[in-house]
């Protein structure tokens, strides 16, 4: 569920944005080779890193955060496992608080972890398995919503559990001693080591837990602790002395302190980083570089060196509300597939550097992906074919409400969609809403307030599961779920369940590819582009690298030149 900025800006961008900052660019004379081997000692130590983000605040509560393992929260909060990004672009799951990435037993239904020696909270108290269990349990509490929820349906008894605040515990998590934690799942789940890299699988001391304040004052387990929070303006991280580098292979903790500058305008961030003056030399932007500045940077040799563009990451798509009048007809949705002008959308996103044209749901680089195109047409679409399909379907023209967040980049994309559909005789009314209102409109309630919307989706872990399940399982309709098409197909649900439970990686990948195609035939979304994210950093920022997955920089390895 990591979203691109177009989606979930209110919750997600905080994490995504915040997370980007730290890593490594090629600068350090000595670090390039070392970072390739993942050696944590390589990073230059010292300095104050600035991370410029459009997010108005940072949510540090692991139970309600959707942060990627390599971004903001990873600086302060460790999990059972972490992500190691290698210089060849690969990302692997590595032990973090635990000594390994998990030992499976009982045919993959039981996973056992042992905590490392020498891991402690910021006050020096050793982290115990009960702290981890408590952290997972509180993510089930109804007062803490909005976090990643993959584990909630996997853990036995998770569906009925409502958190630890009424005194109940989740019995499928066992802590036989202070160092050991055992998870019992309903069915085998091969990607479990990735699941325990999510924020909820960190450690929260029960006696310091306050639902209302943990979001701003977490108890640190990572290399930094939250030292100062100026609401809406900045968050400052200082070194956490209780953290021991020798226990941590994922983080290099280069800078002495990290300052998040909040609520920054994306264009201003880009302009500051292009100018590269003063403290901004030690800064990077956690927000994507907007199209206008992308064009500017590409004609500026100096800034171009400091631009880092990811490979194709998230899928940007047009979601069609399959419950809306007329759009419940698959013929009409097929017509939309042909009517959309993907090329105009790509240009509106910033041209070729912003992404590659998409025809299917599983994103490039995900194992088992089988490329297909059910609705072949020119990049600019086939309006004539769309007209024929609409006529066949007996489409009665009514204005389609394309509801989008009200920022300029999204508006430009919405206009590109409107322009494409108009060629096929469809009437589109663009409705812009503040980001928070938009999130409400499309993820809550009965979905009666929109016909179309734009979104993009980056899987939370490198598995087709992360592409498909959150967007197309019928359980993800409404209540904060991201099935924005409100797509419900019992066969597809069964296929998703089957693929999730398949422990053989190849067999699972084949099932996901099958699900992808099955969903494609129902045309609930129009795949637009696989987005490439571009980020700028200052000239003294080193080790700023974006792996193939996810399409965000690894904050945990960024360091600063002296």
């Amino acid at each position: 569920m990591t979203r691109n900025t177009t989606r979930r800006r209110s919750v997600g961008a905080v994490s995504a944005a915040a997370a980007l900052a730290l890593v490594l660019t090629a600068c350090g004379a000595n670090d390039k080779d070392d970072s390739a081997t993942g050696s944590p000692a390589a990073a230059q130590q010292g300095g104050t890193l600035h991370i410029l983000t459009s997010a108005p605040s940072i949510n540090w509560d692991p139970a309600t955060s959707q942060n990627l393992a390599i971004t903001t929260l990873g600086l302060v909060e460790r999990r059972l496992t972490a992500w190691q990004t290698n210089s060849d672009g690969s990302t692997e799951v590595v032990p973090d608080l635990a000594t390994d990435t998990g030992t499976a037993s009982d045919d993959g239904k039981t996973w056992t972890y042992t905590l490392k020696d020498g891991v402690a909270f910021e006050d020096g108290t050793p982290i115990t398995s009960q702290d981890v269990k408590y952290s997972v349990e509180r993510s089930f509490a109804p007062e803490l919503t909005g976090g990643l929820s993959y584990h909630k349906s996997l853990l036995t008894g998770g569906d009925d559990y409502a958190g630890p605040y009424d005194g109940k515990t989740l019995d499928s998590i066992e802590t036989p001693d202070d160092k050991t934690i055992v998870f019992h799942l309903d069915s085998a789940y091969g990607d479990w080591p990735w699941i325990v890299s999510m924020p909820a699988f960190g450690a929260v001391p029960e006696d310091k837990d306050d639902v209302s304040t943990y979001t701003t004052t977490p108890v640190a387990t990572g290399p930094y602790k939250v030292a100062d929070t100026q609401e809406g303006t900045s968050v400052t991280l200082e070194r956490n002395d209780a953290w021991d580098q020798s226990t941590d292979e994922a983080r290099t903790a280069g800078p002495d302190s990290v300052v998040f500058e909040l609520g920054q305008d994306e264009s201003v961030v880009a302009q500051r980083l292009i100018a590269d003056a003063g403290d901004d030399q030690n800064a990077f932007g956690a927000t994507f570089v907007p199209a206008a500045q992308l064009a500017q940077v590409q004609n500026d040799a100096n800034a171009k060196e400091r631009l880092v563009t990811s490979g194709p990451g998230a899928l940007a798509y047009l979601a069609i509300n399959t419950e809306a009048e007329g759009l419940d007809d698959v013929k009409v949705r097929e017509a939309l597939q042909y009517a959309v002008d993907k090329q105009a959308f790509q240009v509106a996103s910033g041209g070729a550097i912003a992404g590659d044209l998409a025809t299917m749901l599983i994103t490039p680089g995900i194992p088992g992906r089988e490329e297909y195109d059910l609705y072949p047409a020119e990049p600019s679409g086939d309006p004539d074919k769309a007209k024929d399909l609409l006529a066949d379907a007996g489409w009665k023209d009514r204005p389609l409400r394309l509801v989008v967040p009200d920022d300029a980049p999204t508006r430009a994309k919405a206009e590109a969609i409107e322009q494409g559909l108009k060629r096929a005789g469809l009437t589109v009314k663009i409705v812009t809403q503040p980001a928070e209102v938009w999130t409400q409109t499309v993820t809550q309630g009965d979905g009666s307030k929109y016909d179309l919307t734009l979104s993009s989706w980056q899987p939370d872990f490198p598995s087709a599961n992360g592409n498909i399940q959150p967007l197309f399982a019928s359980s993800q309709i409404g209540d904060g779920g991201y099935n924005l098409s409100r797509y419900s197909n019992a066969d597809v649900d069964a296929l998703i369940e089957q693929a999730t439970q398949e422990t053989d990686t190849d067999a699972a990948a084949a099932l996901w590819a099958q699900a992808d195609r099955a969903i494609g035939l129902d045309a609930p979304v129009v795949p637009l582009i696989y987005t490439k994210n571009s980020f700028l950093h200052g000239s003294k920022v080193q080790n700023f690298e974006i792996p193939d997955f996810p399409a965000y920089p690894n904050y945990l390895k960024v360091s600063l030149a002296p």
């Binding site: 302009q271 907007p290 064009a295 240009v347 812009t432």
Partner: protein, 315 residues
Amino acid sequence: MTLDHADELVVPEGQPPSATGRRTFWHRFAQDRFAVAGAVTVVVYVVVALFAPLITRLLGVDPYTYDLAALDATGAPAGWGGGISAEHWFGVEPLTGRDLFAIVLMGSRTSLVVGIGATVVSMFIGTVLGLLAGYLGGWVDWVVSRGVDIMLGLPALIFMIAIGAVAPESFPRLLLLVLVIGVFSWSSVARVVRGQALGLRSRGFVRASQALGAGHGHVLFRQVLPNLAATVVVFATISIPGAIGAEAALSFLGVGVPPPTPSWGRSIGDAVTWFSSDPMYLVFPGLALFGITLALNAFGDGLRDALDPRSGGRQ
């Protein structure tokens, strides 16, 4: 949004201008070159706005059609001056390739409709309330005057943004802008009209018609109102650029007319981020907005000077 020229506005009282008075007026107005240039510019803008669809169709351009061929690989306009060419006189819009000339031309309709519409609304409300307050006095005057005080004290732009954000999406956006801007800018005209009506109330011809048994309606609309016409006309002329600016500000902030309807304010807002790589995108809509507001202000000033010999200045 409200231009506070209230104190300068002194228009001759008494009977409506006679034929001689009118000739003097035109004579004085014609001598003010700045005002004449403004008037001519305003007429040109209005004509262009009226015939914008015709003009764009004749030229084979429209503000909605994408022309991706006019862009380079980065989505910025290809070529000199933001893609200025024989086909695209003002160049093209970045990321879409839409014709900027057509956008600016069609955007004038949005600006003028909102500018004039909102001014009509505010003049109507302001004149009626001001007239009643000044003529009737007493508690009516008290209520209206306090209302004016409150309206002048409101942070109007913030209220407009809030109303724009909460208004149901089914409500026509252009009408909403007209109403919102109009309703938030009647207060200064009400204050001026009230002041003038107060003065007229005790004049001989008003008293005479009252003594002859004329009702309030007759006195208000046949005796007092005609004497306020010049004031209101001048005030309206000076208010229109304010309303146009308000529409541009709201569109700039994203609560104006919905895309893709062309609007100078939104174009300017989008162009700000492009300024360093494509300055012409900001220049053309910016010049268009600057031109009409300057022309209307010049015209309004000239009108006032010509109607009121005592205001001094440029004769």
